[in-house]
Structure formats: C-alpha cells, structure tokens
Amino acid sequence: MSEALTKLQALIIAIIVIAAIGGGVAWYYMQQPKGVKIIWASTQLVPAQEQAFVKDTLLKEFTEETGIEVEFVPISYEDLATRLQSEEEAGKVTISVIGELHGGIDYFASQGWLEDLSKFGTLPDRTFPQVLEDYSRLHGIKAYIPWMTATYVMVVNKKAFDYLPEGLTEDDVIHGTSKWTYDALLAWAKKLYEETGGPKLGFPAGPNGLFVRFLHGYLYPAFTGAQVKNFNSDDAVALWEYLKNLWQYVHPSSTTWDAMADPLLKEEVWIAWDHTARIKDAIVQKPDQFVVVPVPAGPKGRGFILVIAGLAIPKGAPDQDAAWKLIEYLTRPETQVKVLENVGFFPTVKEASAKITSGPLKVLADGVNNQLNTPDALVALIPSLGAKGGDFKNVYITAFQRIVLNNEDIKTVLDELAPQLLSLFEETGAPLPPPDSMSG
C-alpha cells in the first residue's frame, strides 16, 4: 500500500516538476521583448534566387537594424488581388506592405484598398524623378512609393557585329544614334540570316513572354507616335507591314520563348529584345560576350517602356509604422544599388545612380542609360487598366497572331480590333497612357 502511495507521490511530483519547467519556459518567452513582425506581400522578386536575396540579405540587415521582423510572401498578382480583396472585405488585414507593379497598385487604389501614404510625410535624402512622383499619385491619394524600375532593351552577341549591314556601325547601335533604326535592324537581321544560315533575331513571344510590350510600347510609339490612339492609322499599317517583313528573319521558336536569357546563352539567337530582368542571367554569365543596346528608332522616335514597381500599404494594415520603416529602408540609395546588383531592377532614386559599380551590371546599366539618354527617346508607360490589363495585351497579341502569323489583311484586322481597344479605356475610365496623352 505504502509502495503504491509512493508511486502516486512520485507521479504527482513528476507532474509538478514538468509543469513548473513548462511554465517557466513559457514565462521566460513571454518576458522576451516581443518584436514586431510584419508581412510583406510582393509580386516582384518572386524567383527562388531573388527571394533568397530578399530574405538572406535585404531583410536580415533590416531586422538587425530595426528589430522588426519581416515575413516576405512572394505571391502572384492574381493571388494578391484575391487575398487583399478578401482581407479588406472581412476587415481583417494581415498584409502590411505590398510590392507590386504600377498597374496592379492602380487597381488596388481604385478599389479603395490602400492607405494614403502622404500621411507619413516625405522620405529624407532621396529624390524621386518627377515622372515617378506624378505616377504614384492615383485616385486622389499617394498610392505608393516608387521602389524599382525596369525597362526592356536589346541584347547583342558581339559576334553579330561582324555582320552589320552597310552604313551601320557598332557605335551607332551601342549609343542609339539616328542611324540605329528599325530599317537598319531589318537589314541586319536579313544579313545575319543569309550569311549564318539561319535566323539570329529572337523575341519572347511565348505565352508568358513579354513580346506584347514590344508591340504596344516600342513599335507603336516608334511608328505611330502613340500606343493606343493611332492603332489603325496608316502609320500602323506601315508598322505591321514592317513587322511581317522582319518576321521572316526572326527565329521561329520565338512564339514559345518566355525569356531570352537561355536562347542567348545557347546562341540560338544573337540579337534579342527582352525585359532587363529576363536577360540579366545571360549578361552575368558572359559579360564579355554581350552588349546591351538601346532599341532602334522608328519614324516617330525611339519608343520604349519604363516599368515602375511600387511599395504600398493596405488600408487598415497592422503595424503601419513598421511598414513605413521598411519602405524607407527599401528606397535608400544604398539598398537600391544592392537590389540592382543582385536582381537587376533599376533604382528609383536619383542618388543611387552615382553608386553603380563595374562588371556585368555596368553592361546592363550602360545599355539602360544609353537608351534613356537617346535624344529621340519616347517614353511609354504601361496603361493602368486594372483587371482589363489582360484584355489590353490581348488586342495587340491577337493583332500579331492574325496579321503576322496568320497572314490576314492588316487594315481589316486593325479596324476590327480598334473599337475593342478603345472601349477598354472607355469602360475603365483610364486615361490613355503616355506618350498618347502627351502628344495631344
């Protein structure tokens, strides 16, 4: 009997000891200063390598400095929109910072899902270019802080310079002189095709490729002076005639390519056009092999797109002061140079450009700078159509498929599609994007 009691006593003692240890541990943790933890949902820097950079470098330094922990949530635009919508509708917001492209943020702002950032005041020691300042004001609020920019450029394998057409020099191409035109590109592509025995020009015209940006943001401004409003003009007909002509010398696999780094590295093509982030791999692996050059100019100028990614705070987000600190950190010139060095997105603050170093990055930055500084530059912005952004792209893609690939009559196709394009702007009330809105 006594033995049984001892067993019971032992059991009770054991339970007390375990409970005490557990309680002590719990108490100890509760006494620890509870750091703020915020969620940063981003549609940018999603590829695994870029995520690793964000988590292991960017955010680690931020947490060391401020004690604020950040959970970086890479997310697609579609998922972000769905999640934000449900969180805002339920009134239970968990995301503190959003990293998204201008167009997506524009849609969120139009739905009233974002805080007006002007309440946080201005950020010290940094200057945003005026165009970025203007564009980040949407639907009556300061919707986002410009975070990163990107553009699309041409990459040339140096081998291709051996086949330059008559009257065009390497220097013309690299600095984007008035001789570096779409006609010169056609002559070059033709010569390459004939003398190397195969097409050496490529575009990312696959289903997830960005070729559509080349159509509306490069060719259209260059040939018609506008992205939208001259969609079915005579200039546009000339544009499509040109593209049909050029397409004979374009690598046929283009319609399945989503990014040009691989085809460039495999030397399937020697000249390619793509987003800076999607050709960066090629430059980094073989910086001596490739040159980044401005895009050619058309009769109306050298049209090109500037992409803007911004940082925004959802309405009713938790820990907004911590969120603002993260935004401040991410827009510091030093941080921005780090971002450029690691993931190839370009800074949004003027102070950063002085800090760019050498190497492959310089190749890229030089190309972008040369493009920005061409005298005939015609900057196009992606229109802010929100959910209709897909329809907008679809108009140009459909025109391309029918005219260039299916060989349908240019004017008929354009006249059929033009009302559909314009109705997108009427339905959403969105303004025509520059350069349309500037040329009056």
């Binding site: 289903p207 046929p252 696999s253 495999k266 209709k388 897909g390």
Partner: protein, 293 residues
C-alpha cells in the same frame, strides 16, 4: 409501441437511400455545387441573366474557342488510339513471364510519376532547335540545320511534339489498367480453349479480348477524360500556338480575368466528358454482360 414496431420496416425501406447518402452528399458538395456555381458565373452579369459570356465565346475576335475545340479533339483522337495500341502490346508482352520482367515493369511505369509540366519541359529541351535531338542529328551528320519543332510556323511539328510527350508520359496509365485486367483472366479459360484447338488468334479474339473489355472501358474513360483536360504539356510545348479547351479556360481566367468565359469552358469540358463517358458505357455494356457470363 405500435409505432416502434413499424419502424424497422420503414428503416428497411430507406436503407438503400441511407447507404448511398454519404456518396450523394460527397457528389453534391464537390461536384454539384461547383457546377451550379460555374453555371451561375457563366450566365449572369451583375446578378442578372446574361448570354454575354457565351456571345464572347462564340463571336468575339479574341475567342479561340473553335480552334481550341478542334485541337482538343484532334489531340484526343490522335493520342488515345496510339496509347491504347502501345499499352495493349506492352500488356500482352508483360503477361509472358521473362527474366527481368519486374525491373522492366518499373521502367515502363516510370513516366507516370512525372508531372505533365515536367514531362513537357524534358521534351522541350530535347526537341528545341539546339536541344539533344538536333545536336545528335547534326553531330551524326544527318542534318546541317536544326529541325524546328517549336514556333507558330511549325504548328504541325508542335502537334507532333505534344503527341510524343503525351504518349511517352501517359501510356503507362492505360498499360497498368490493361495489364491488371489481363492478369485477372483465368488461365483455365485459355487452357480450355487450347484443348478445344483454338489457335493464338482465336484465343485472343474470343477469350482474352472480351474479358479485357471492362478494363479497356475503364482505361478509355480515364484516358479520354484526361485527354479532354490536356493543358500542361500543351502550354509548355506550344503555348497558345495550339489552343486547347483547358488552356483557353486558364488563359481567360488568369490573363484576361474573364471568369464567366472560363466557367463556360469548364462547363463545356465537363459536358463533353460526361457525354463521352456515357458513350463508352453504352458501347461497351452489352459486350461486358456477355463476357461476364
């Protein structure tokens, strides 16, 4: 008390319904409700009945519905017979015991473990203009310029690449079902037939084939349903050069945010699947009953 006595008979009367209730509930929740929601998405616009989505599907210059329908069926009627023929041949082969049969079996089934997207990527890199196949042929001196498999201008080659990939990837599932069916056929029937002097062809025609029909039916239904949903492989290898129904549903929803149009595509795929399933069951049923006796 009399009520209580009546209860068992009442209970008995409803027992069959009670027994299928769990299955019915499952179907209602996971198939019935989504279909109802899809119909709602497809045919309403801002809460009111509308045929706008249907109109877009059939008449919009942006809609690739007709092409998608054409290619989905073309792919199905190309791929399925090839797969059934190969699978049947393999199943017959594996039904004979030979050394290393088990190892060979695993090898044949291996592609089944690979996702369709991964299979698409593998074949894309093999067939691309500077991929494995072209390098091999160029190095062997058989060709001087690469054979292009990809690109809108080479849609027939893209079609071929899709057929190759699908046959490589999904023949195994047909094979597994047919092989299982073959193994279930009792050796006694065949021995009896042999005793009565039936030759190989007769044994196949009058014993093996009729008894294999239920398995063939199952394999065909599963394969056809998968074929109607074909998407990943096509998307990787041909993008929208070769549009298919499931791919267009994805494109309309994800790229264009036309949820209603995507819902119609889903309904069309579901409708065709049900029709094809019903057709198979009807075609095979009579023979199945005979074979069962």
């Amino acid at each position: 008390m009399t009520k209580l006595l009546n209860k068992p008979s009442l209970f008995e009367k409803y027992t069959p319904y009670l027994l299928i209730l769990p299955a019915l509930t499952y179907l209602l929740f996971f198939i019935g409700i989504p279909i109802a929601q899809a119909i709602y998405l497809a045919f309403t616009e801002k809460g009111a009945f509308s045929t706008e989505n249907l109109d877009y599907l059939l008449n919009s210059p942006f809609s690739m519905f007709k092409e998608a329908l054409k290619y989905t069926f073309l792919l199905a009627i190309t791929i399925i017979p090839i797969q059934v023929a190969i699978a049947l041949g393999l199943a017959m082969l594996f039904n004979i015991k030979f050394p290393g049969r088990n190892a060979a079996l695993y090898l044949v089934i291996l592609p089944l473990t690979i996702s369709d997207v991964a299979a698409g990527l593998i074949w894309y890199s093999m067939l691309s203009s500077y991929g494995f196949l072209n390098k091999l042929l160029i190095n062997m001196g058989l060709i001087s310029q690469p054979i292009y498999f990809f690109g809108y201008q080479y849609r027939n080659m893209e079609f071929l690449a899709i057929v190759l990939t699908e046959v490589w990837r999904a023949t195994a599932i047909v094979f597994v079902i047919l092989f299982a069916g073959l193994q279930m056929i009792s050796q006694e029937h065949i021995e009896a037939a042999e005793v009565f002097g039936a030759n190989v062809w007769q044994r196949l025609r009058y014993i093996v084939f009729p008894m294999l029909l239920p398995s063939l039916q199952a394999a065909l239904i599963i394969r056809t349903l998968f074929a109607l949903q074909i998407f990943g492989v096509v998307w990787i290898l041909a993008g929208r050069d070769i549009p298919v129904l499931a791919g267009e549903a994805y494109y309309e929803q994800v790229f264009l945010k036309h949820t209603g149009v995507a819902a119609i595509y889903a309904l069309i795929i579901a409708g065709i699947s049900v029709a094809v399933g019903a057709l198979y069951i009807k075609l095979f049923k009579a023979k199945y009953l005979e074979a069962g006796t």
